[in-house]
């Protein structure tokens, strides 16, 4: 454990009243002449850690100024929980984070560096990606790196054995679930113990019923949660409950994915990396998906839920006080915004897909290729519920609310009124 980690731990422990101020007062002295860029990494799992390591090494190798990347890896969840204090003390120059509202939130608080000039040179990013990298002030703050679309996953062999067809419409989806039940399969694998996995289902139902614009406004606190639209989402979800694995609140997503792998369940709404991690290597090819079915023809299958991970520059970065330091960090971001950088990463982590249009996809698995098609055909790309709204709202209101709905799907009115009341106080707080 480094000294800074220890201090950060102490700051949290002491209630973090005065320590952030003290920490930032410590400072880090003069910059190091732009030779090293400090990188705050939340890639604590072995696969992504190794993959990012390879990408940074590629940067060091091509850097003409002999620049290097000093990676500071922090456990994924701790990183997330401490992001506020991290960005306010003396953070690393560049750090890993998420696109969308989750990034805009910190941009608005003045904790991120505007990198519009870096963006001006970027090629190969779609308009949807630029939107997700742009703050509310119209400036860019984020370099997208990879994403992982959500869809309905299943096993090819199971679908073949029973002669199932991927459903296009919601009625066909329910009919398929009914058929699976007759065939002694639990239609939907379902695990929500961590609180967030069921949000993907909520998002898809919401976007299929009400469209992406509504999703965005709802997440931004501009729509009423106790209105007709959201109630319809929960009512539709309730239709799926009899076909879902019971006891979802006591089951982790890993256990749900394992039940799919064991052919006990037929389908599951997940992101690309989730089922993949629970399938042994020789069964990977049996994994397939179809896009979440159409509910309202007006919105079709326009929106795809595909959270984007990437890089940002921290306003208070320890080496960013000098021009040279800032230049070095920008140089790294420029490199990370190239197809080559993404390719290097994905060689080691096949559970995501590149965001760059020119990235070489020839090494992709069939599943990855299908994911690329899904995302590139999307009219809108949404982030996950917790990334599209305020963090305090998603973690203190939405996680308990969805958990409650799964335990007791019948009291929708009480539930949405609860959410709306809390939303009003939270969104009014600044």
């Amino acid at each position: 454990m480094s000294r800074r980690n220890l201090l950060r731990g102490a700051a949290i422990g002491a209630g973090a009243v005065t320590l952030p101020a003290l920490l930032s007062a410590c400072g880090d002295g003069p910059g190091n002449g732009g030779k090293t860029v400090a990188m705050g990494s939340n890639a604590s799992d072995p696969v992504p850690k190794k993959a990012f390591g390879a990408a940074f090494k590629a940067y060091e190798k091509q850097s003409k100024d002999d620049r290097s990347v000093a990676v500071n890896t922090i456990d994924h969840n701790s990183f997330q929980e401490n992001i506020n204090r991290y960005l306010q003390s003396t953070p690393d120059d560049v750090f890993m984070w998420f696109a969308g509202y989750r990034m805009q939130f910190f941009a608005k608080k003045g904790l991120l560096h505007d990198i519009s000039d870096v963006w001006a040179d970027f090629k190969g990013f779609s308009g949807a990606l630029k939107d997700q990298s742009t703050g509310e002030d119209g400036k860019q703050y984020f370099v997208p790196y990879y994403y992982y679309p959500w869809a309905v996953f299943h096993r090819k062999s199971v679908f073949k054995k029973y002669g199932y067809e991927p459903p296009k419409t919601f009625d066909a989806y329910v009919a398929l679930a009914k058929q699976m039940q007759k065939d002694k399969l639990v239609p939907f694998a379902f695990g929500n113990k961590d609180g967030w996995p069921a949000m993907g289902t909520f998002d898809y139902l919401n976007m299929r019923i009400n469209g992406y614009e509504f999703h965005k406004n709802l997440m931004a606190g501009e729509e009423a949660w106790n209105g007709k639209q959201v109630k319809e989402v929960f009512d539709t979800w309730r239709r799926l409950m009899p076909y879902s694995q019971k006891g979802a609140n006591g089951r982790t997503w890993q256990e749900a994915a394992t039940s799919l792998q064991k052919r006990e369940t037929g389908m599951v709404v997940f992101g690309l990396p989730h089922p993949g991690q629970q399938f042994p290597k020789d069964e990977q090819d049996d994994l397939d998906f179809f896009p979440f079915p159409v509910i309202n023809p007006e919105h079709g299958q326009d929106a795809v839920e595909a959270p984007i991970d990437g890089f940002l520059m921290a306003k208070r970065g320890k080496n960013l006080k000098t021009d040279k330091g800032r230049e070095a960090a920008r140089d790294l971001l420029k490199f990370l915004g190239t197809a080559k950088a993404e390719e290097t990463y994905l060689q080691y982590d096949p559970n995501n897909i590149a965001v760059h249009q020119d990235a070489d996809t020839s090494g992709y698995s069939p599943l990855q290729k299908k994911a690329v098609e899904l995302v590139s055909g999307a009219k809108q790309i949404s982030q996950f519920l917790d990334r599209d709204t305020r963090p305090d709202f998603s973690s203190t209101v939405m996680i308990p609310a969805i958990t409650k709905f799964i335990g007791d799907p019948d009291d929708v009115d009480g539930l949405v009124n609860d959410i709306e009341r809390q939303k009003k106080t939270i969104f009014a707080s600044d």
């Binding site: 005065t18 992001i83 506020n84 609180g195 979802a248 006591g250 973690s395 996680i399």
Partner: protein
């Protein structure tokens, strides 16, 4: 004691304080006082102050009066369940686990066969942290893969011990009590060993039954131990956190005040003002117990 002695001691005492002694005293007293002020009372008072603001940990601190408390009592669905669970925790530990620990201590103290074996087995969970107890509880109670459902062999309709909000609090209380019982047992065992054997013999000669001996003679002599056990039980009840956090982050029927504080303050949420308000509620509840205890103690001292 003669009247002159204290005066003489005092005079000698005063003379003994050299400059160096004063420095040493100042440091030895000063450091704890500083710690007390900066690590305990400072943050406590700061929390109370912050509970009247809407601070999110980043921007300016804005005063909102009692809004946080109003929201907490009327609009935060997790609050009242958390209060209820904290009280259940106290009641369960105090009325079930603690008496059970006392019972075990008495039985073992009687010297049943294999008492060393029971003693060590029952004490074993105490050396585990509650977080570990939480993980063990999951191995036992997990719906799909838990040992309990495997033993019950109800594969078609397994009971969701930890996922069902009506059930899981009891399962977690059982796991917490498993640990607490051993703790209490050891304390009482130590106390019982210290009870003067001649008291028991005297009671036996007077014709008291085993039960009478225990309740009329032995138990009253355990007063100091009782107080320690009571304090420990209250502390365990109020600080309960790790086990529910290990099971499901304290959601879905396992809400506790300590978890709500963490959810709001530590997490990405950073609703520091609101979280502080919850912490203040917990503080007030704890102060209730602390004050009661202190009043009892001070009164006891006077009577002694």
């Amino acid at each position: 004691m003669s009247l002159t002695t204290p005066r003489r001691t005092r005079r000698r005492g005063l003379r003994r304080f050299t400059a160096r002694d004063l420095v040493v005293l100042g440091v030895l007293l000063g450091i704890p006082i500083l710690i007390e002020v900066f690590i305990i009372w400072g943050p406590t008072l700061a929390s109370v102050a912050l509970s009247f603001t809407s601070w999110d940990g980043i921007g300016d601190i804005k005063w909102v009066g009692t809004d946080n408390y109003k929201n907490l009592f009327t609009e935060y669905p997790q609050f009242w369940p958390a209060v209820r669970h904290n009280l259940m925790w106290l009641a369960f530990l105090g009325l079930v686990a603690t008496p059970f620990g006392l019972l075990l201590a008495v039985i073992i103290d009687r010297g049943v066969r294999f008492s060393r074996f029971y003693q060590s087995t029952l004490y074993m969970p105490v050396v585990l942290s509650l977080a570990i107890v939480g993980f063990i509880a999951q191995l036992v109670f997990s719906r799909d893969q838990g040992a309990l459902n495997a033993i019950l062999a109800n594969k078609d309709d397994p009971v969701d011990w930890l996922g069902d909000p009506d059930l899981n609090i009891w399962m977690v209380l059982l796991a917490a009590a498993w640990r607490h019982t051993g703790y209490v047992m050891i304390l009482y065992l130590a106390g019982l060993k210290a009870v003067d054997q001649s008291l028991k013999e005297a009671a036996a000669i007077d014709g008291a039954s085993a039960r009478q001996t225990f309740f009329r003679v032995v138990f009253p002599t355990l007063r100091p131990v009782n107080i320690i056990v009571m304090v420990i039980t209250v502390i365990e009840g109020l600080r309960a956190f790790d086990i529910v956090y290990a099971v499901n982050k304290g959601r879905n029927g396992l809400e506790l005040l300590s978890v709500l504080v963490t959810d709001n303050i530590i997490g990405e949420a950073s609703r520091i003002g609101f979280g502080s308000a919850i912490a203040v509620v917990l503080l007030v509840v704890s102060l209730g117990f602390v004050v009661t205890y202190l009043v009892q103690e001070l009164r006891g001292e006077k009577n002694r």
